[in-house]
């Protein structure tokens, strides 16, 4: 039944063209302990070593049968390059920012050597390897963090969130820096071979801020970033993005990745009224279904997602690393039914 290659399928979908079946990708991280074992590439080494990173990411194609592979696994490269101190989670956990490097009001300079800082060179090298080894079969996706979210990682989150309300103008220089950093990284990824850029703007979520703050402090910079990149950009924002989903589409992004609690049929109705054709990716709940469910649960939810009008089937957020392989494969089985 499959008459398209993975590459054709994803690109057609992002260009609003017909597909032989819906593409299955993971917009956010997709490494699992199962894949680590099978591929003989594990955390934490795979966070640092380009070939191990590429090897682990390749599991999305070789083990799961997804239409795209994606790096990185964590959300800390940009913040680390700005001087954030990370805390590593050993073999099982993702690194996260432990010490935020700045206080609001500090002068933050953009590091000239940004692309050679921290683990960014390894990340870019991993993309080169993925492109070389899998680029003729699947889409290679590079993940960067959204401008608002990079800015948030520079400071204690509580101070940052209060400032979004009390002194939003004070944050603008930092969000501009975030945009510059993410765009620079994304451009380097594209040069290294990335076909698609995923922008995770997780702090621009309604779990964190209001639609008004999103419109004032996040939207404009997402849009600027999308416009600066010459490949399709998938924007991922966690949580119930219903009130801002039309805004996200108006950044000009290639697709929007959402969690399962978003009302997608309603969003598509709103799109129709505005003449928006942006595809929506997601449909499978990473915790409730992938992590704690069984393949039949995954199939049920994926079928529902297809009927709701999702254009790309993807976990709604990062895949929990303890997810069993059979559950991820069930996503692909469903679109092939």
């Amino acid at each position: 039944m499959n008459t398209m290659t993975s590459r054709e399928r994803v690109m057609s979908s992002l260009n609003h063209q017909p597909v032989d079946r819906l593409p299955v990708i993971s917009v956010c991280q997709h490494a699992t302990y199962d894949q680590m074992e099978q591929l003989n590439s594990s955390w934490p080494e795979a966070f640092h070593d380009a070939s191990l990173m590429a090897k682990l990411a390749s599991g999305a194609h070789s083990i799961l049968g997804f239409d795209a592979v994606r790096v990185p696994f964590c959300q800390t490269h940009e913040a680390e390059a700005f001087g954030a101190v990370l805390k590593y989670g050993g073999k099982t956990g993702l690194p996260s920012v432990n010490i935020h490097p700045y206080h609001i009001g500090d002068n933050v300079d953009f590091p000239n050597d940004f692309l050679s800082r921290g683990r960014i060179p390894a990340l870019l090298e991993a993309i080169r390897i993925l492109k070389r080894d899998y680029g003729d079969k699947v889409i290679v996706m590079g993940g960067v963090i959204g401008p608002f979210s990079i800015a948030s990682l520079l400071f204690e989150v509580t101070d940052f969130l209060k400032a979004t309300f009390k002194k939003p103008n004070d944050l603008i220089p930092y969000i501009e820096l975030g945009e510059r950093a993410g765009t620079m990284l994304a451009k380097a990824m594209i040069e290294a071979g990335a076909d698609v850029i995923c922008v995770e703007d997780m702090m621009a979520s309604m779990d964190m801020i209001s639609p008004k703050i999103y419109r004032n402090l996040a939207w404009e910079y997402e849009k600027k970033q999308v416009e600066a990149l010459n490949v399709p950009v998938i924007i991922h924002i966690c949580g119930k993005v219903d009130p801002i989903i039309v805004d996200i589409a108006k950044t000009g992004c290639g697709a929007i990745s959402v969690e399962s609690n978003v009302n997608v049929p309603e969003a598509l109705d709103k799109f129709k009224l505005e003449g928006i054709k942006t595809p929506i990716a997601g449909g499978v709940d990473p915790v409730k279904t992938l992590f704690t469910g069984q393949p039949e649960d995954v199939k049920g939810e994926a079928r529902e997602a297809i009927s709701k009008g999702y254009s790309i089937i993807s976990p709604g957020c990062a895949v929990p690393p303890a997810t069993i392989t059979a559950n991820l494969i069930a996503m692909v089985d469903t679109v092939n039914e």
Partner: protein, 216 residues
Amino acid sequence: MSQEILDRLKQGVIDYDEDAVSDAANEALAQNVNPHSAVFDGLVPGMVEVGRLYEEQEYFVPEMLMCADAMYAGLNILKPHMSKKEGASRGVVVMGVVQGDVHDIGKNIVRMMFDASGFEVHDLGRDVPLDKFVEEQLKTDSDMVCLSAMMTTTMVGMKEIIEKIKEKNPKCKIMIGGAPVTSDIASRWGADGYARDANNALKDAINMIASLKSIS
């Protein structure tokens, strides 16, 4: 007169106006308003309203954090003047973010609701080793332990903590929360409650401790 001050305390919290709350709290003391009443009939109803506004998506996290600052401004002035008996807690709670996880914003909001509502809170902070929860529960003989995790990688540690605490003290109630946690996981891992958000955490906690006290 005193009702007017209580209203100002409440409104100051809702309007996240630290100065207004501090002024009202100082005036409450100057005019001999019962400090216990100032907290429970002024600040707490304010926070309850904030919780409602949050649920209705009128307020978001930034507003809630600022309301918390206003509430603490009042609490810090009033608390030293509450008599021991009046200040008697509704329950003792141990809380923290589990090992490997440094995301503590949700935990801090829940803590604020507990503080406001008169619980004795032992906050272990973030990235807390699993055994520390068990130790602290035994040391404080707390009625409840609240565990928070923001990452799908760290939430799995909760299971072990729940087992250990239940083994040492089956009566202790355990509530878990955080972005990746679901009610299904909570019941599967043997937790007594699951907190979708701060408001629910508080309501659940009050119910759980009430049930605990009625059986003991």
